[in-house]
Structure formats: C-alpha cells, structure tokens
C-alpha cells in the first residue's frame, strides 16, 4: 500500500516537473527538426530526422557568433568589474566603522529594487554625451546599475557570515587589515564570491532592455537583442533556427547548472535573487 502511494506520488511529481520543463524540452526538439517537419499536421513529437543544419546555418550564415562574442565580453566584463568593486565594498560595509555606513547599506537595498526603466533614459543621454553610446563598454557601465547593488547585497550577507574573530585573530597574529582581508577573509568568502559571480554573469547575459536602448549596431549587440532582431527582421520566421539560437544561448546556463549548481542555491539562501 505504501509502495503504491510512493509510486503514485513519484509519477505525479515527475509529471509536474515534466510540465514545467516541457517548453524547454520542446525547444531542444524543435531545434533539431528539419524546417519542413515543423509544419506537419499532426506535429511529430520526436523528430523523424535529427538534423543539426540549423546550428550550422546559425554559425555560418548569421551574425550569431558575433553576438555571442559580444555577450561573452559584456558578461565577463560586467562580472569582473562588479565583483572586484563589490567585494571591496562589501568588506568595507561589514568590517569597518565610519559615519554613514548604515545609511549606505540601506541605499544599496533601495537601488537593488530600482526599476531599470527609470534609469535607462538618463543613461542613454549620458552615454551619448560622454560619447560611448553604441559600444560594448556602454553596456558594461549600464549593467553595473543593477549588478552592483545586487552583488553588494549578496556579498554583504555572505561576509556577515564570516566570524569577526577570524579577522581579529589575523590582526593579533601580525597582519595588517588588508593582509587579514587577503589571507583570511577572501578565502572564506570565496564560495560566496563564486556564487555572486555566477548570478552576476547570468544577469548580464540575460539583460535585454539596456541592450535594446543603448546599442543599435551589430558590432556591439549582445545575443538577447541580436536574436530578437533575427526574429523581427526575417520575412518568414524560421522557428527551428530560432530554437537552435535559444539552445545555444542557454548553453552557459546548462554548464553552470551541471557543474556549479550548489553555488546557485547558496546564493539564493544568502540574499534572494534579482528577477
């Protein structure tokens, strides 16, 4: 009886999981179907012929690789800048005493919740004015607006979990405050830093609005707006091609999920996640 209930529960639970995952599974299936097979009625569930032609088309006949390079540069650049700045900043917020520190922490929380749409117009004007509009760099700058408060908030809660005594012990043992930071705090914060880096990378990788407003040349366009452009600009929509692009776009995520998923759950625990 207990056995039956267990099996029934597992069947039920896995059908729920399957339902949630179905759109993504369907994406993969569609991406390896030949174009003509998509328009069959009734549709085939599993592809009759598996083809990778769409992936090749994507790589050779579209600017997809260029977009991907841009996305990688922007995401890595944003992550690097944000993590360096936020690690130092979070360390300062957690372990130093100076006037205005609490206020600052509150400000971080507030900006963490600020709508991008409020900032995007002035930022656009600012970029035009400074003369960096339409560049990869402009997107790195723009992405710090949401990635930095987020990373600060997350790293702050990670660092609050490191006992004060560790730094004190290092100081008594003869380290300066910066040495204590490097020798003791950083190694302890490393899992938190990795997890924050992953989230920052994903945020930057997935960003759409800033890329839409700030960049209108293929030289600087990331995958999000690039792929959307492919949808809008083509006369008849090639769904298999778009699904192949979607799969490729999700590859970094799959890698992170496969090898580093424990860092993702850790990040959730520490400070909630930006949407």
């Amino acid at each position: 009886m207990k056995m039956v209930r267990r099996v029934a529960f597992n069947l039920f639970a896995w059908s729920v999981v399957g339902l949630v995952a179905f759109p993504l599974i369907w994406m993969v299936i569609t991406s390896v179907k030949p174009q003509f097979e998509l328009f069959r009625i009734p549709p085939t569930f599993l592809p009759e012929t598996v083809t990778f032609e769409h992936y090749w088309t994507l790589i050779y006949d579209t600017p997809f690789l260029k977009y991907m390079r841009n996305s990688l540069l922007i995401a890595f650049g944003t992550t690097l800048v944000v993590i360096v700045v936020a690690t130092l900043g979070a360390h300062s917020l957690v372990r130093f005493r100076y006037p205005g520190r609490e206020r600052l922490a509150q400000l971080v929380l507030f900006t963490y919740l600020l709508p991008s749409v409020v900032l995007v117009l002035p930022l656009y004007l600012l970029m035009v004015w400074v003369g960096i509009a339409n560049s990869l760099f402009s997107l790195v700058v723009a992405y710090t607006t949401f990635a930095l408060p987020y990373a600060l908030w997350l790293l702050r809660s990670f660092m609050q979990g490191i006992p004060d005594d560790l730094e004190a012990a290092a100081l008594v043992d003869g380290a300066t405050r910066m040495e204590a930071f490097i020798d003791v705090i950083l190694p302890q914060a490393l899992p938190g830093i990795i997890s924050t880096s992953l989230f920052t990378f994903i945020l930057a990788w997935n960003e759409y609005l800033f890329a839409l407003v700030l960049v209108n040349t293929d030289e600087a366009r990331p995958l999000t707006t690039g792929v959307m452009n492919m949808l809008i600009s083509s006369f008849n929509i090639e769904w298999s091609l778009l699904m192949a692009a979607s799969v490729m776009m999700s590859l970094p995520l799959v890698i992170i999920f496969a090898f580093l998923s424990s860092y993702l759950t850790r990040g959730f625990g520490a400070g909630g996640v930006k949407g």
Binding site: V17, L88, L113, R177, Y208, S250, V273, G275
Partner: protein
C-alpha cells in the same frame, strides 16, 4: 568622531574600500535618478534631444491621459495575477520537492531552469508554443477537445493578458520554490510530531504548522516579486509588445513607447517617475501592514 589615530586610519581605509562603489553609484544610479526627475519637467524630442521646459506639464497631461490610467491598471492586473500564480505554484511545488522523490536534485534543477533562462529564450519558446497554426498548444487543445478552433493566444483579448500572466508565472515561480524550500527544510520535525499527536491531519498540519512558519519568508518573497513583476519590461514587451493595441501595455512599456516610438523623452521620464512613486507608496503600505501583522502574531 574617531579620536584614536589607529581607529581613524582604519576608518579611512574603510572609506577607500567603499569609494569605488560610491563613485559608480553616483555616476550610474544617483545621477540618472535625479536626472530622470529633472527630465520629466521638459518635453524632449528624442532624435535631436532638444528640450523645452514645461514644469509639471507632463504630469498634468498624464493625469488626464486615459492611456496612462489604462497602463497603470494593466500593470496592476498583470502583477496581481502573475504574482498570485507564482506564489501558489511556488508553495505547491516546494512542498512537492520537499517530499522524498526519485532524482530529486535533477527535478529541482529542471524546475529552476525557467528562472535562469533568458527572457528572450523563454519568449521565443512560448511564442512557438503559442503559434496559431503550428503551435503544439493549439494542436493539443484541439485534439483533446478543449478548443473547437485554434486560439489566437497573443493577438486578442483577454487571451493576451492571460498568456503573459501564465508565461510570467512559469518563468518566475521557481524563485518562490527555492525560497520556500529552504525554509521548509529548517522547520523542526518536532512541530509536525506534536501536531500529529494532537490529532491534526495533513491539511490541518499545513495550515497550522507549515504556513505560519513560512509567513516570514513569504512576506519577503512577495515584496521582492511584486516589485520585480511591477517593473517587468522584457517579458511583456517581447510577447505582445503591449498589444493588441494597448491591452497589455504596462507602465514600463509605455515609458519605452513614449521615448522611442513617440519620441518624447520628457514625457517618458514623467511616466517612469510616476511609476516609481506608485511602487514606493505600495512598498511602504505593504511593509506597514506586514509589520503590523507580525506584531499581532507575536502577541
């Protein structure tokens, strides 16, 4: 304040470490924020960026504009429905994943995936699923007899609103799952055993033990998700573009349309600022009531 030289030196070091943060904050957050408020007092032609002072004129026009009120209403409708779905689905799936099931960590990864996938990817996939001629949803609905003829999921009302609400719920409920799951794992078993001894069935146990324990985390989750849903742009813009006409146009979409479709950055800024104010008001009200019920709960 710090009189000890060493203490002062430390404070200085702390200030140096936070300085890059403050610099970046000032340049890309504080300045644009102030500037957005300033811009909202002008009418600015986007292509030339020439502006003319109109004071509160933009706001006055907004108050009199049906489109603004319609968009505000749409924003609320979208937020309330998608948020409710996210919370309900999130709690249900978290409870499910909390049980013993085979390959639980794989299941958790699969559930989490929609949340991390790019909105662009999510939208492309759903638009393909929603496709009126060859989309699998219409096909399944037809053969199962749910529909008599193919449905236009995104091009007509109220379908378009329902569709974006559903996709929003699908994309964002994993956030609730993870937050709730983490909390569930920290509820002590004794509480359930005590409830069992008192004769509480599974449903009573959920309402009397689980839900009160989840309350705190739900307060935070609802606040965060409400804010993020309220300001959502990508998902709605990419799915319906606000259409048909303006039936699913929320405030962030209206900002974009004013700035780059109708070429008035000043008016767009005014909408953005108003939207932020609405958010702030609701945030304060929410935190007040959450704080009050917390205090009553403690009594």
């Amino acid at each position: 304040m710090a009189t000890n030289p060493l203490d002062r030196r430390y404070a200085l070091l702390g200030a140096v470490l936070i300085a890059p943060t403050i610099l970046i904050f000032s340049a890309v957050i504080i300045y644009p924020l102030v500037s957005a408020i300033y811009l909202s007092l002008f009418t600015i032609f986007t292509p030339t960026l020439r502006g003319q002072w109109v004071g509160l004129g933009n706001y006055a026009e907004l108050m009199a504009s049906n489109e603004f009120w319609r968009s505000l209403a749409n924003t609320f409708i979208w937020t309330v429905f998608t948020l409710t779905l996210q919370i309900v689905l999130g709690i249900a799936v978290a409870l499910m994943l909390h049980q013993n099931m085979v390959f639980r960590s794989l299941a958790r990864s699969l559930i989490l995936f929609p949340y991390f996938v790019s909105t662009v990817v999510a939208v492309l996939v759903w638009r393909w699923l929603f496709n009126d001629l060859y989309g699998i949803l219409n096909y399944l609905a037809l053969i199962s007899g749910l529909l008599q003829r193919p449905l236009d999921w995104l091009g007509s009302m109220p379908n378009a609103m329902i569709s974006i609400v559903l996709v929003g719920a699908w994309k964002y409920f994993p956030f609730v799952v993870i937050a709730v799951l983490a909390r569930l794992q920290s509820i002590p078993d004794q509480l359930y055993e005590a409830a069992k001894m008192d004769g509480a069935g599974p449903i009573a146990r959920f309402f009397d033990v689980t839900l009160p324990q989840l309350k705190e985390v739900l307060v935070v989750v609802i606040l965060l998700r409400a804010i993020w849903d309220f300001k959502e742009f990508d998902l709605i813009y990419l799915l319906t573009g606000g259409g048909p006409v303006i039936s699913t146009q929320t405030l962030p979409l209206m900002v974009y349309k004013e700035a780059f479709g109708l070429n008035d950055m000043g008016r767009a800024s005014a909408i953005a600022v108003s939207m932020m104010l609405v958010m702030l008001v609701f945030m304060v009200l929410y935190l007040r009531s959450a704080g009050r019920s917390e205090r009553e709960g403690a009594r």
